[in-house]
Amino acid sequence: MTDRRPIEEAQARRNGRPAGTTSWRGSITERGTQMDSYYGRSIVKEPVWKPEIPAYFFTGGIAGASSVLHGVARLTGNDRLAKSALYVGAAADIVSPALLVSDLGRPERFLNMLRMFKVTSPMSVGSWILFVSGGASSTAAALELLGVLKPVKWAAELVSFLSGPPLATYTGALIANTAIPVWSEARDELPWLFGASAAASAGAAAAVVTPLGSAGPARRAALAGVALELGLMQAMERRLGFVGEVYKHGAAGRFNKITKACTIAGSALLAAGGKRSRAAAVAGGALILAGELSLRWSVFKAGFQSARDPRYTVIPQKQRIARKGGRR
C-alpha cells in the first residue's frame, strides 16, 4: 500500500476542484431552478474508463463501417476498394480487442466477457459482436493475403459484412445505457452519431489508401458521414439543452471544436481535390480521421464533466418530478 495517491487529490479530481481548496456550498440557480447539493459533490460516479475506451470507439467504428464498405465494393466489382477496406477494417479489428483488454482492471480475465450473453448489457452484446465481426474480418483479410481457401474467405466476408453495422453503433448504446446525464439523455442520438462517425472514418481511411480511380464511394461515404454527424451533433446539443452544456466547456468543448474544424476542412479538401489529386485525398482523409477521433474524445470527456457536476443529475430529475405533478 505504499505509493498511494493522496486521498485529497482523488477527491478533488472527483469533484472538479483543485486539491486543498475547501468546498463550496449553498444553492445554485440554473434557469430558475433552485437546488441544494451535498458540498457540491457529484452524485453519479465518473466513469473509470481510460483513454483506451474512446480510442476503441474510434477503431471499432472504422472496423464496422469498413466491413460494409468492403462488402458492397466486392458486390459491385470494385476489387481495389474492397481490398483496402478489408485491410483497414482488419487492422482496426486487431487493435480493438487489445485496447479493451488493456483497459480492464483484471486483463487476465478478459475471457470472462464471453461467460454469458446478456441483452441487458450492451457491453456483453458488444463483446460478442466484436468477437464475431473482428474474427470474421481478420480471417478474411488473412486468407486474402495468403490467397487460399476461397470459400472460407467468402463466408468470413459475409459474416463481417452483416455484423459490421452493429459493431459501429452498439458503442453509442453502451454509453447511453448509463446514469450519466449527457449520455443517457442522448439515447436517441448517440447510436446514430457513432454510426455516422464510423462511416466517415472508414470512408476517410479507405480514401487515404485507395487509388483515386477506385476511391469514389469511399470519398462519398466520408462526406455523407461527416455531414450527418455534424448535423446530429448540432441537434443533440440543442435538444439536450442545459445537460448538453458540457459540450461547450472544458475538454469536451475543446475536442468538439477540433472535431468541427478538422472534419469541415477535411471534407472541403476531399470534395474539392479528392477526385484529381492523391495528395488532397490523403490530406483530406487524414483530417477527417483526426476529427472523428476527436469526436469520440469529446463525447467521452462530456460524460466525465456531466457526472462531476451534481446540477446535471439533480435539475433534470427535479424537472421530471415537477412534470409528474410532484410525485417521485
Binding site: 451535498y38 465494393a73 482492471g105 446514430w192 454510426g195
Partner: protein, 310 residues
Amino acid sequence: MTSLAEPTGKPAAWPDTYGAEAKPRMGFFTDTTICIGCKACEVACKEWNLLPEDGLVWTGESYDNTSELNANTWRHVTFVEQRKPLKLSGETATVETEAAAEPEPLRWLMESDVCKHCTHAGCLDVCPTGALFRTEFGTVVVQEDVCNGCGYCVPACPFGVIDKRDLPRSPGDAPLALPLLGRKEDGRVWKCTLCYDRLKGGHEPACAKSCPTDSIQFGELDELRERAEKRLAKLEAEGWNGPRLYGHDPDDGVGGFGAFFLLLDEPEVYGLPPDPVVPTKHLPRLWRSTALAATAMFVGIAAAFVGGRE
C-alpha cells in the same frame, strides 16, 4: 428485457431461480432522524469486510471526512448543517453569528448512506460477466472472483455507489511477465454486500449490529416498509420539519430500494438523486434506435456506390 421497465416491485426472476433456497427479501431502513453521527456503522463495516483504509484527511465539511461511498467505503455518514428549525412550530436549537443580529435556527442532519440494493439494479443489469448477481435474500452482490474490472457498473449506478478499487502496484512488487495481461492493481469493483456472509450465517449486517440508536434497522423489507410508514406518521404528527420516505415506493424509477431511508429534507441535500431511474429502463427503445442506426449506416454506405468508382 421489457420486464425491467415494468414496475413489478420485484427483482427480475427473483426469487424463482432459488427454488427451495429462496429467502424473504432483506434490507435496511435507515431512519436518519435518530442518527447521532457516531460513524460506528462505517467502522464496523470496515472491520468486518476488511476494507482498505482510504486516507485520513480533514475536508472541512462538517464532521464528514469520508465524503462519499466508494470501493473502500460501504457506509458513509453525511453531515448537513442547516439554518432551518427542527420543528415546524419553530422549536429548535439556535446559533448566534456575527452576520445575523438575531440567533438563527440550527439543525444538524446526519444520514448513514449505503448501497440501495435496488429492485431493478443498473449495476447488475449492465455487468457483462455475471459477476454482479441477485442473492437469495434479494440483495445485489459482486463476485470478486469473476469481476474483470470492465467498470461498466460504475457509471450505470444512479447513486454513484459502486466503484473500482485503485490499489496500484508498489515498487517492490515482482515485475509483470505479460504487461498487457498481468494484474496491474486490484482492478475490481466493490460495494456493500449487505453482509452476505453474515446473512448466510443468520446474523444481521455489521452496520446495523453496531448502530447504537437503531437508526439502521435490518429486517424483511415488507416489514421495514410498514414500520417506516408508522414512523413517518408519528413524525408528521409531532410537527417535524420535512420528514419524508426515500426509496420505499415500488413504483419509482428503480422499483424501490432494498435499503431505503427516512430523510428530513430533499434527497439532493444529502447527495442523493431526487428521482433515480435505472438506465436499462430505456434499453428496449435504445436497442431499437441502435438497430435503426446500424441499418441506416448499411444503406448509406451502399448508396455511396451509386455514381461509380470515381
